[in-house]
Amino acid sequence: MSASEDLSTLTGAARDNVFQKDLVTLIPHLRAFARTLTGNATQADDLAQDALIKAWDARASFQLGTNMKAWTFMILRNQFYSDKRRSWRSTQLDQEAAERTLVAVDDPESPVALDELRQAMAVLPAEQREALILVGAGGFAYEEAAEICGCAVGTVKSRVSRARKAVQGILEAGAYGRDGRPADEAMGNILSEAERLSAAR
């Protein structure tokens, strides 16, 4: 679309039509964001579908021509945290993610680099994970990520930097495990790293 003034004059079905066309192109990105937030494909698609419905229902409040990707990501993120708050299992799920990581590190055959990264991401505190994925993979500027997360730009920067360091540390701990060092040493490293990070919040 060339002029945003043209878009703002659209009403009714014509406006819905434009809105929906843009929304459809964002579905793959919403699914990817949801997948990294939840670490689980089924939960992620449930979350992304909920976000899609929320975005559609709130379409009147969106200003056509502005950043719809950031807007929908914010909706999805809010949905994720309100689901999480409602669920008493949230801390338990993080524990499960940590255990999956430990199991994988324990097995010298299975780890593929991408899986290791996925698992390292799963161990991160949620706010660091989302900051890293938004800036590092989602293509958002720090300012946009800050808006999506509802925090200061400086906060996003420090979360991204801590997340990067932590992922590197976790991957290195995993590599030690494969180098023939006792696997429980690597497990201990990962757990203490995850614990330290959660405490540093």
């Binding site: 079905a13 997948r35 698609d45 899609l52 991408l114 992922v167």
Partner: protein, 80 residues
């Protein structure tokens, strides 16, 4: 006095001082090597992170998603 605050043997002997200077002078070199390595590792992590994300982006969108919008479309059509 020095002996009181230092716990290591020989830290206030000439030898000990030399050792400390050696350690200090070698530090910047090590740090530079580490930060180069760290930068390379971070770049590798960044590439993999995008790969991980794009893998999902490139998956075909399950039909339920489009179904949601089709349903939304027809219900909003009825309202008007």
């Amino acid at each position: 006095m020095k002996r009181d605050i230092s716990s290591k043997d020989g830290e206030n002997t000439p030898n000990g001082v030399d050792r400390m200077i050696d350690q200090q002078s070698s530090r910047p070199h090590v740090a530079a090597e580490n930060s180069d390595e760290a930068r390379l590792r971070q770049r590798a992590i960044g590439v993999k992170l995008r790969q991980m994300f794009d893998e999902v982006v490139n998956e075909p969108v399950p039909d339920e998603f489009l179904e949601i919008l089709r349903r939304a479309d027809s219900s909003s059509g009825k309202e008007r």
